[in-house]
Symmetry: C2
Subunit: 199 residues, 2 copies
Amino acid sequence: MPGESPDTAAPKTSPELRADARRNRERILAVARVVVEEQGTEASLRDIARRAQVGLGTLYRHFPTREALLEALLRQNFDRLAARAQALGESEAPYEALVAFLGDLIGGAGAYRGLAASMMATISDEESPLHASCAAMRSAAGHLLERAQAAGRIRADVDGTDVFALVNALSWITDQAPSLASRRDHLFALVMSGLAPPS
Amino acid sequence: MPGESPDTAAPKTSPELRADARRNRERILAVARVVVEEQGTEASLRDIARRAQVGLGTLYRHFPTREALLEALLRQNFDRLAARAQALGESEAPYEALVAFLGDLIGGAGAYRGLAASMMATISDEESPLHASCAAMRSAAGHLLERAQAAGRIRADVDGTDVFALVNALSWITDQAPSLASRRDHLFALVMSGLAPPS
DNA sequence: ACCTGAACACCGTTCAAGT
DNA sequence: ACCTGAACACCGTTCAAGT
């Protein structure tokens, strides 16, 4: 039959990028990972395009905003964290599960310099491509938090956004003053003990 | 006697700025206060010079770095905070004195958007003109902290830099997500309770 | 459909030339 | 002594022209 090719019913997960486009997208992402590692989330987009040997407009075509690029860069990390939250949500030790997840969140936000700031900014900026991912993290934290609260291990007057903010703030401290990196776990423990119900 | 003018022994607090220079310096500072209020600590220096009706080089002559300008802008605030710490250091309620000072510190760091970040960065950057002022704040916090620790109200494994970092981190949260401003006092209380000795 | 890079409007920083 | 603004080397963002 005319117009029917063998693989018409193939899984069209993404809207069929042309071969060269697909290659460029991957090159950009690979280079961006390196450059953001070096320069942080405020890295020069020009520099990324240059090093990827791609026109500046090409970078903008694939990633219309800096946040869009960051989102693609963090896609895997977010998915992994979401899966972790899911698994921990069925743990039998609600408080320990919460602490474990928040520890991972701190680690994740510490992946790139400036990332904690980028993530916090999404709370106010609903248009950011990172907004959805971060909202998911906040609600995952919220769920684990509720369980810990139900178990009487966390005060009732705290919500998911509070702990998300506090945890990001801890990552930010290390961002700004690398010399305080060694205090991070300690500060985390202090903040967590502040969330315990008044005895 | 030759070369002896009437006011030779006058108090030479600053090295005698020429009249026009002195005027420019004040104009720059006045304008900078407005612009930094608007745009935060990363405000455009060009914009400040422009609005102060001063050549760009003139701004650089008076304030060789952005931090130098910020330091001049915050001189009064720092002096006021230092005096407050001094007064509180003689208070009879060590814990309440510490809380009061940290509350002022949070308020101060919230004066301009980005200020918390600028202050935290001085920990690592010893060359910054803000370094001395912030170190003074940290040691003032350290002194009040020690008294509260001696009174058994704060755990022993916390130092002045820790509380300085935590307090700045709280200011930063509001910086990044203005919608969380209403939670600031609450989060401050939570963090403070985390600094209480384990019961 | 996609790529390219020039063009535009901004930066921070320096410094030769002026008064 | 001090002021000025052009010059330099960067940005982010857009878009007409190409394939």
